[in-house]
Amino acid sequence: MPEKKLQIALYWGAACGGCDVAVLDTNEFVIGVGFLVDIRLWPIAADGKYRDVEAMADGELDCTLFHGAIRNSENEHLAKLLRRKSKVLVALGSCAHLGGIPGLANQVTKQEILERVYLDNPSIEAGNRVVPLPSTRVDAGELEIPRFYRRVYRLDDVVPVDYYVPGCPPAPEQVKAALQALVNGTLPPARSVIGASNRTVCDDCRRRKEEKKVTRFHRPWEILQDPDRCLMEQGILCAGSATRSGCGVRCPDSGMPCRGCYGPAPNVIDQGAKFVSAVSSIVDSKDPREIERILGDIPDILGYAYRFGLPASLLQRSIR
């Protein structure tokens, strides 16, 4: 039991808040944690201002759990600020870890996003062409909003990260384990993934695995699946084989294919490319046209392969 309460912060970048919920999903554990730590910043649950953080001494925080990707200047600024104030920075969840769902925006340009959101959208009143600008002059003076970046970064791209807790969201048990390690001072060597296994989802998956030869790919709703057999063998594109385990096989257990949120296996540097390699390898044909046809059943391969990790891929973004 530490003599002094640990000083921690939780902050978010481009995120949905699911990771906050995951922390809360640890239920009574989080209350216990509350006895052991001082939560200095947690916008979703506690009060706290930028200036409070700015006032802290460097390294004053024992740990910051940062979730969400880096989408704009505010995300980056706070990431850097909290990095400086924290002894340990943890990337919590897929967005901070790999770029996450927001990272899929790396397929399009900033211009396309702005047009889609503010101009070319059915929910916008006709003739309304108001676009946010980084700075606006009002009577009270100059108002600034964060600058929207050309692309999405993962946390690691803008600040050095000490630990990664993957998942979208991370499984509550894994969050719990990470917090426990933090509180107990049993953290593994820096820059490692915690709260996950070294194998892939298949290791924990209860489904039966037999011969992998696919002649047709299906969307999950297109077929009546055998609940006991490997989804991939049934032609359902399941990313489990290319995804780090630790989630508790939540998706395949509920009849949905793994979508890859825990990121690549330890030895793999590009999850999507590996997934593409594995998936195409099991196509059961030697005829180029048939191969094209079979693989043609797979829609949006970039989105499939890098659903949670486009900014973490080798190519990171579309160059269009």
């Binding site: 180029p288 970039l302 579309s318």
Partner: protein, 144 residues
Amino acid sequence: MGFEPRIVGFLCNWCSYTGADLAGTARIHYAPNVRVIRVMCSARVDPTFVVKALAEGADGVLICGCHPGDCHYSEGNYKAMRRFPLLGRLLRDYGIEEDRVRLEWVSASEGKRFAEIVDDMTERVRRLGPSRVKTLLEADRVER
């Protein structure tokens, strides 16, 4: 000097690499833009190698294996063939032009064919101009 494409070539040991050696023995000249990396079989070419090469600044990637039906490893080249369409679509989604990545079959006796493929590929990539992948990655880089 104009733009000289930098192309990474992955050649299978038994057919294509031997074919490339044969082009040498026969003194068939071709463009010097392809830098060859030898693999035992085209089936060893992980799509990761291709994206890795592009990320490292390659303007093109050439994969060569034995002709279908002639693989030293029985059917490794079919696996290379299977991986290519999906990889191609992935790269297209990334905005990388189709001509930058190419899969070709070159037998051990086709030194001339290898030279022609290299020349043709070099020319096509030259027309496309330099790949923007690495430039953009570097431009995007954030000071940590």
